[in-house]
């Protein structure tokens, strides 16, 4: 869509170069394609076939080739509430992360001055410790005797009297763990915005608030879309936060997949759930991108 004429002119002028570089292009693509083939396409097909397997009569935990589409129906019948909960938790965590990350990214991009690099390092620094370890730490932070819980309790702000082992803890964990994935794309998008555009908006009778709404926010949209996707997708498939910070009433779909695979050895159900999760995320993401109207991302 951008600049049709110049593009045409350019490709016309440098046709031989373009040909050579397209061959190089294929060569450069090869390692990536091979990687995808071995580690995505093949497992993908295997997973799909597993999801249709039938149990071997008389030997539990053994499955054979089949076309049991009923696996999907029974898996969904049992686990659909977990799907809803996963998307709800992931959705809330994504919104919270956006609310926390946007001001932070804005500050780093426009106000931090010489502290910019340091602050970016600080954003990533927690990731140097293991995901599991950091989630365990939240167990301590949110513990019933901990400062946060007791303070909130003394203010009678907690309906269940505790945070740990509730949905709040799971959402808090998700928000915390995926925050860097929100901050970094937001920062990248904001940092690209020319601050003179905000001056121009001010010069054209936009108050700072209006200038933000009409200029900064729309220009940061690619970062918002990227950040929300990078947060929402892994958060909806996550099981560690629900396992460590929630109770049985807060299980997410990742927990169901994990239990079916490892504990029940019900591979077809686990595979079917994985497949539905993948499909559901794809549908959600595409609807979302359509709505957000950012063609640059697809």
């Amino acid at each position: 869509m951008v600049a049709v004429v110049p593009t045409a002119a350019r490709s016309g002028a440098s046709a031989p170069v373009a040909q050579r570089s397209s061959k190089t292009g294929y060569l450069l693509l090869f390692p990536g394609m091979a990687w995808l083939g071995v580690f995505f396409a093949i497992p993908f097909v295997t997973l799909f076939m597993t999801s249709l397997q039938a149990p071997v009569a008389g030997s539990p935990g053994k499955y054979q080739f089949g076309l049991e589409f009923g696996n999907y129906a029974s898996a969904m019948a049992e686990y659909w509430p977990l799907f809803l909960r996963s998307f709800l938790y992931a959705g809330i965590a994504t919104l919270l992360a956006l609310a926390i990350a946007y001001p932070l990214a804005y500050f780093i991009a426009f106000r931090a001055g010489q502290w910019r690099s340091l602050m970016l390092v600080l954003v990533i620094a927690p990731s140097f410790a293991s995901f599991l370890l950091r989630t365990y730490a939240w167990k301590t932070i949110l513990a019933d005797e901990g400062i946060i819980t007791s303070t909130l309790n003394s203010l009678h702000l907690l309906p269940e009297g505790r945070i740990l082992n509730t949905g709040i803890a799971v959402v808090a964990g998700l928000t915390y763990n995926f925050l860097p994935f929100m901050i970094l794309p937001l920062y990248a998008a904001l940092e690209k915005i020319d601050p003179r555009l905000m001056e121009a908006a001010g010069d054209l009778y936009a108050s700072p608030q209006t200038a933000f709404r009409k200029v900064t926010w729309p220009l940061s949209m690619p970062g918002i879309v990227a950040g929300t996707l990078l947060t929402f997708i892994p958060a909806s498939g996550d099981y560690i936060n629900a396992a460590l910070l929630g109770s049985t009433g807060n299980r997410m779909i990742g927990n169901a997949i994990q239990i079916n695979f490892i504990q029940f050895r019900d591979y077809p159900t686990a595979s079917a759930l994985s497949f539905v999760l993948m499909a559901a995320i794809l549908v959600l993401v595409f609807t979302y991108i359509r709505r957000a109207g950012t063609e640059d991302l697809v």
């Binding site: 951008v2 600049a3 121009a200 001010g202 010069d203 054209l204 729309p218 220009l219």
Partner: protein, 395 residues
């Protein structure tokens, strides 16, 4: 919009000062820009032009001083509250909005509902009506520049500020846009404050030119007045070229002051002498001087200032011929001669006599180094040209 009778008012800057830490970017500026005029602020890079504009626009707070439009003090108003719009040096068009929405931006912010007629009229004025639905990135530099002008002008500001709006364009487009901008300004009658470091641009476009140097206005006035009668060494060098000769004032003869320099005496009209002490730098523009072959000495009119020299360089530029002449005391003087007669010209090495009318002479306070205000790039270009010419002559 084309209603020139719209009440516009003068812009007053009063003791305007801007300091960044210890550095004084704009130094106690006091000036009045008449309503409806095309005012050019001319100065070398870093002399404080942008800072001055930004203070008027409300994008920078003055350290001291005030800004008024008519009787209204706008010093304390935020940018979006001022009846002033800016055409930014970088254009700063909104990349996510199309041309129409860019131009409509200011109107929409002021709650005007039906923006279509005004925007279309404005786009026609800058001859971009057919491109209304393009994004800024799909326009050429000159088109973007016109969008920037349209986006600012549509708000009918009391004052339009233009910060080197033509800086990014090539020479041909620059000339074209200069004419365009001048036409638009005459059409709408808004006060234009145009910042530039291109002296030719300032002179061709503006009614009033202010030459700025190190945060101060050196001289202000009609372009022709400033050119013909520079009042400081900086202006004499920055606006066009000048021959400057250091001397001493020794007396008066009628309406003229007498200046002794290097054993010669020159006459300067007293009303063109802007010097406080007896040390005077005498100046004359290169095109005011006539070059004569030394043998034609008797042709020098009575009362003319004159000196002898030797031609060191002749370059033919079509319209005129440029001579470099060595004065007896070693200074190099420059002379432009209109090519009105075909043929016979002085050539390198010829002894010549230079003469000019006393009324074309001006007297200035000496500045540290006669080079004040000379653009180093121009000097470099001259040097390279001279070098090429010498090589050309050897071939």
């Amino acid at each position: 919009m084309t209603d020139a009778a719209r009440a516009v008012e003068d812009l007053h800057l009063q003791n305007l000062t801007k300091r960044f830490g210890d550095f004084v970017a704009v130094d106690d500026l006091t000036l009045t820009i008449p309503a409806g005029s095309f005012f050019a602020l001319l100065g070398a890079s870093g002399c404080g032009k942008t800072t001055t504009l930004r203070m008027v626009a409300g994008l920078e707070d003055p350290t001291e001083g005030s800004i008024r439009i008519g009787e209204k003090d706008i010093t304390g108003l935020r940018a979006f509250e001022r009846p002033v719009n800016t055409v930014f040096q970088s254009y700063a068009l909104f990349p996510h909005l199309d041309i129409f929405e860019n131009v409509a931006f200011g109107l929409r912010r002021r709650g005007i509902k039906d923006v279509k007629p005004a925007v279309e009229q404005m786009l026609d004025l800058v001859e971009l009506g057919s491109l209304a639905r393009r994004k800024p990135s799909q326009l050429s530099g000159g088109q973007q520049q016109r969008v920037a002008v349209a986006r600012a002008l549509i708000n009918e500001p009391d004052v339009l500020l233009l910060d080197e709006p033509l800086g990014a364009l090539d020479l041909k487009l620059r000339r074209q846009m200069q004419i365009e901008l001048k036409r638009i300004q005459m059409d709408v009658g808004t006060t234009f404050v145009h910042v530039t470091h291109d002296q030719e641009e300032a002179m061709t476009m503006a009614d009033t030119v202010a030459v700025m140097n190190a945060g101060r206005i050196e001289q202000m006035g009609h372009p022709a007045d400033i050119y013909e009668t520079p009042q400081t060494v900086f202006v004499a060098n920055f606006l066009g070229q000048s021959n400057l000769i250091d001397g001493r004032r020794t007396g008066t003869s009628g309406e003229f002051g007498v200046i002794e320099a290097h054993g010669l005496s020159f006459m300067v009209p007293s009303d063109r002498c802007f010097c406080s002490g007896s040390d005077v730098t005498l100046g004359v523009r290169p095109e005011k001087i006539t070059v004569l072959d030394a043998v034609d000495a008797e042709q020098v009119p009575d009362g003319h200032n004159r000196l002898e020299g030797r031609v060191t360089d002749v370059s033919y530029t079509g319209v005129s011929t440029q001579y470099l002449i060595d004065a007896p005391w070693g200074q190099e003087l420059i002379v432009f001669e209109q090519n009105v007669v075909v043929g016979d010209r002085c050539s390198v090495g010829d002894p010549v006599i230079l003469h000019w009318a006393p009324s074309h002479t001006f007297g200035l306070d000496p500045a540290p180094g006669r080079g004040a205000g000379i653009d180093p790039e121009v000097i470099e270009a001259e040097r390279v040209n001279a070098h090429l010419r010498v090589r050309g002559a050897e071939d």
